[in-house]
């Protein structure tokens, strides 16, 4: 089980409080799809993803981003129990959605960059280190049901 200090818990919560799920959520997926275009293969049903402009305007992309951030909320509130919290989601991504677990890491990187753009110097090196530890625990939990 991942151990969290009081400082780490409060840092993750402080960052999370500053995130507007609607605003940030709509951006993170656009970033993933544009920076790592092969991830588009999972979103055949989302319609037009053919150009950067189309991706940035696509409502389904924005909605999906918000959904993912809402799921991240569960991790923030269950930092001592992420594997169990995400077991069902992990199984879903493995068995039904057949998502390459490397993609979780790419998404985590884009979440961090989107937050860096928003918080700017408020995302200090120490905060970044803690936030990345948090996200890698999430990525681990999301990969845990993959065989």
């Amino acid at each position: 089980m991942v151990k969290w200090t009081e400082l780490e818990r409060s840092t993750v919560n402080a960052i999370w409080e500053k995130i507007d799920i609607d605003e940030i959520g709509s951006q993170i997926w656009a970033r993933v799809l544009i920076v790592y275009p092969w991830t588009e293969r999972y979103f055949g049903s989302f319609g037009d993803l053919f150009t950067i402009t189309a991706i940035l305007k696509n409502d389904k992309v924005a909605a999906h981003g918000r959904m993912v951030l809402k799921a991240l909320d569960k991790a923030v509130n269950n930092m001592d129990n992420m594997k169990r919290t995400y077991a069902a989601l992990s199984r879903l991504h493995f068995q039904k959605l057949e998502v390459d677990p490397d993609s979780f890491r790419l998404l985590a990187d884009c979440i961090t960059i989107t937050i860096a753009c928003k918080l700017k110097s408020a995302l200090s090196p120490q905060s970044q280190a803690i936030w990345q530890k948090f996200l890698s625990a999430v990525v681990d939990a999301m990969s845990s049901q993959y065989r």
Binding site: V35, C117, P125, Q126
Partner: protein, 147 residues
């Protein structure tokens, strides 16, 4: 050979022409040493790196950060020949400095976060994709002479 579109060339040129090297260079290296603490092993001669504050105030770290960023200038001016441009530096990092080439990616990730924090929402997904492509080519060139 890596192909660059006119758009990509101008995105990279614009990013660098708006960067204060004396500010961004130190910030990127400081972040790397804090977020990925094992990288401190290469800087034993830099004196006090015992905590985040010491690292942030260390003048040798700052000077080295500036030097690294100016090193990126060479890639900027030789975008069609980055591999050859960095051949000697690659040999240096491999044979003399014994730097694990994985670390080049870590530093480039930290530079991306610092630039994102500086540019804020101007660091669009498209600009992020181009900047990451540029840094990936640099990282690959620096790892090229390792054997």
């Amino acid at each position: 050979m890596v192909e660059w579109s006119e758009t990509e060339r101008s995105i990279i040129t614009n990013i660098f022409s708006n960067l204060d090297y004396n500010d961004i260079g130190p910030k990127a290296l400081v972040r790397c040493l804090i977020v990925y603490p094992w990288t401190q092993r290469y800087f034993a001669s830099f004196g006090n790196l015992y905590n985040a504050e010491a690292i942030s105030n260390n003048p040798q770290v700052a000077a080295h950060g500036i030097r690294v960023l100016h090193g990126l200038d060479r890639a900027l001016k030789n975008m069609d020949n980055i591999k050859a441009t960095y051949a000697e530096l690659s040999v240096l990092h491999s044979e003399k400095l014994h730097v694990d080439p994985d670390n080049f990616k870590l530093l480039s990730d930290c530079l991306t976060i610092v630039v994102a924090g500086k540019m804020g929402s101007a660091f669009t997904p498209e600009i992020q994709a181009t900047f990451q492509k540029f840094l990936a080519v640099v990282v690959s060139a620096l790892g090229r002479q390792y054997h």
